[in-house]
């Protein structure tokens, strides 16, 4: 990885010029932040919901005096508002878990590489075990054991994610350790903390940075999947995933809007994250070797 490209990325994280994914992602973020201001209904407030208007098709004007732009779900919640609020949950869960997961994973990976021996063996055994299983299973086991709740989901997603970072960071750190500049650092008998934080870590996180958008996309999808399986967020505070799940049963009966619109929103969110991530990755790694 060229230092110039990294510097360029720091200076201008969103790269040159606008593009649809960047715009979309920006719009998603904005919508999530201002959701309470623009949503016509707070779908998490039972007092604002008119149950008898459940399953209204898009365009119905309800008791609240506004139009259900995308229809209502089986309990009378405005789909458009549900999407806006669900977006908040999806983003908060995934961003928090990705950030903490990256932090934990990077520290673990670099420590494993630097200390070697049993530290390495223990950390990497856990990582290997975890990565040899599909993420969905790890997440399932974690959430089943941890129990329901948004904080538990975040925890489960951290558990799922840290291993990837740890493995990548360890790999990079190992190859960095072999570089002469680290030999030079060791020859100066620098304190271990200085070697790790001044030399090893700054040079090992760059590939992990490229991982963050991918993992963020994964986290959104995984949270949605868990919620879809009924193991995720509380039922009265639907995320995008559980909103889709709520509508799944109605899909076959023609009330397509209940799951179609949240699904589209979810898909657009993940796709825009992935496209922006792809863009960042391409600029950091011009040969785009990583998948």
């Amino acid at each position: 990885m060229k230092a110039e490209t990294i510097l360029a990325l720091w200076k201008r994280p969103m790269g040159h010029g606008p593009s649809l994914p960047k715009f979309l992602l920006g719009a998603y973020m904005l919508l999530a932040i201002v959701a309470p201001l623009i949503a016509l209904q707070n779908p998490y407030d039972p007092l604002q919901i008119y149950g008898w208007e459940a399953s209204s098709p898009p365009g119905t004007v309800g008791t609240g005096g506004f139009m259900y732009l995308l229809g209502t779900d089986g309990l009378g919640r405005d789909i458009a508002s549900t999407i806006l609020y669900g977006l908040r949950i999806s983003l908060v869960v995934s961003i928090t878990s990705t950030a903490i997961g990256a932090l934990v994973g990077l520290t673990a990976g670099v420590s494993a590489a630097y200390f070697g021996k049993w530290v390495d063996v223990v950390i990497m055994r856990v990582v290997d075990l975890q990565l040899s299983l599909p993420t969905i299973l790890v997440a399932l086991i974690a959430i089943v054991t941890l129990g329901p709740g948004i904080d538990r989901i975040i925890l489960a997603l951290i558990i799922v994610q840290w291993a990837t970072y740890a493995r990548i960071a360890r790999g990079v750190a190992l190859s960095e350790i072999n570089k002469p500049y680290l030999d030079a650092a060791r020859l100066l008998r620098l304190p271990i903390s200085r070697i790790i934080f001044r030399h090893l870590l700054p040079n090992s996180i760059a590939p992990a940075i490229t991982l963050i958008p991918i993992e963020l996309g994964h986290a959104v999808a995984l949270e949605a999947t868990l919620s879809f399986l009924g193991l995720g967020v509380p039922i009265d505070k639907p995320s995008l995933g559980s909103a889709v799940a709520n509508g799944f049963q109605y899909l076959l009966t023609g009330q397509y809007w209940i799951s179609l619109f949240p699904g589209l929103a979810l898909f657009g969110l993940i796709a825009s994250i992935n496209f922006v991530g792809e863009d960042i990755r391409r600029r950091l790694d011009p040969r785009s070797r990583s998948i």
């Binding site: 055994r125 290997d128 075990l129 040899s132 299983l133 599909p134 969905i136 299973l137 399932l140 086991i141 089943v144 054991t145 129990g147 996309g217 999808a221 949605a224 999947t225 879809f228 399986l229 995933g241 889709v244 799940a245 799944f248 899909l251 076959l252 397509y256 799951s259 179609l260 699904g263 979810l266 898909f267 993940i270 796709a271 994250i273 992935n274 496209f275 792809e278 040969r287 785009s288 070797r289 990583s290 998948i291």
Partner: protein
């Protein structure tokens, strides 16, 4: 060679041990399976107590675990609380359904992904490449549950081309029931197989693409061109074999994943496979079945890894040690 075998075995053993512990503790902390076995609406407290004792659930957890390990050593995973069948036999009976689903999905994904990847890699930077790349990002962005739902919406509800779920009629072969041998069975297979295949096509295509670019930027490709080979020959005779190692790895791993944990797709398409059995059993707290499934899975993973290694040796002479 010996050390890799023991390494593998010890890893399998470790995997099994960890999974069984997690499974045990996890299920124990979640709830009491007894409530799924007795009719909660008619049973008395006494009934529940008796059933708990009968299942050995009154024992301290560590003793249950020791007992379980002891039984596993003799090949006995216990009897399903719910189905009252030997747990392992139950898992095995679900295997054909999963196996055929995963195989068909991989048979679609591997060639399609590889070809798309080669094409994109060859046309790096050209419209075909960026189209394939973009499509792959899209394909990888669709959560599998939503992909499955959309396939049902498009392939079943709107067009009526395919059934929306369930497994088709089966034909017995080699003592197992397979549904891909009947026309109807294949139709039932199509949508779930596609749901599993699409993300894998994207994954393999991206891998093949980056492999192609990497291999074709190497000196030997340049040398091949300098020595007068046609680019077609280079692609199929040199590039393809050289990118096949990572592809085989990912195919192996993904196949293993599908075999065990096509949870979401199997659930949505009501496909009676191992993944569905696992998630049902987790929900029903049917511990023997959960444990048997996890064991099968860890063994299958290690087996598949060994198979992938074997493939490496076939593909790469450098790996072939003096036999």
């Amino acid at each position: 060679m010996m050390s890799t075998v023991t390494g593998r075995l010890s890893q399998a053993f470790l995997l099994l041990l960890v999974m069984s512990l997690i499974g045990f503790v996890g299920i124990h902390s979640v709830g009491n399976p007894v409530y799924n076995i007795v009719n909660i609406e008619t049973a008395t407290a006494e009934d529940i107590r008796k059933a708990t004792i009968a299942l050995g659930l009154d024992q301290p957890l560590w003793r249950q675990y020791v007992l379980f390990i002891g039984n596993v050593v003799t090949g006995n995973f216990g009897t399903s609380y719910i189905y009252h069948l030997p747990a392992f036999r139950l898992v095995m009976s679900k295997l054909p359904a999963t196996l055929e689903l995963a195989s068909i999905a991989m048979l679609i994904a591997a060639p399609a992904g590889t070809l798309l990847g080669l094409l994109a890699g060859r046309r790096q930077g050209k419209p075909a490449d960026s189209a394939i790349l973009k499509a792959s990002v899209f394909a990888l962005s669709i959560p599998s549950f939503w992909l499955s739902m959309m396939l049902i919406l498009l392939g079943a509800i709107m067009t009526g081309w395919f059934p929306s779920g369930g497994r088709g009629p089966t034909v017995s072969l080699l003592g197992q029931d397979w549904s891909f041998l009947t026309l109807d069975g294949l139709r039932q297979l199509t949508l779930p197989a596609l749901a599993l295949a699409i993300p894998n096509i994207a994954l393999i295509a991206r891998l093949a693409r980056s492999g192609t670019i990497e291999v074709e930027s190497q000196d030997f490709t340049r040398f091949c061109r300098a020595k007068g080979l046609s680019s077609r020959r280079i692609l199929f005779r040199h590039t393809l074999p050289n990118i096949s190692v990572p592809i085989v790895t990912i195919v192996g791993m993904q196949f293993g994943g599908m075999l065990a944990f096509a949870v979401v797709v199997e659930t949505i398409f009501a496909w009676p496979g191992v993944g569905k059995l696992l998630i049902d059993s987790i929900q029903l707290l049917d511990r023997p079945v959960v444990m048997a499934t996890l064991t099968f899975v860890s063994v299958a993973f290690v087996g598949l890894n060994a198979l992938v290694d074997l493939f490496y040796a076939l593909l790469d002479p450098r790996v072939r040690r003096s036999a």
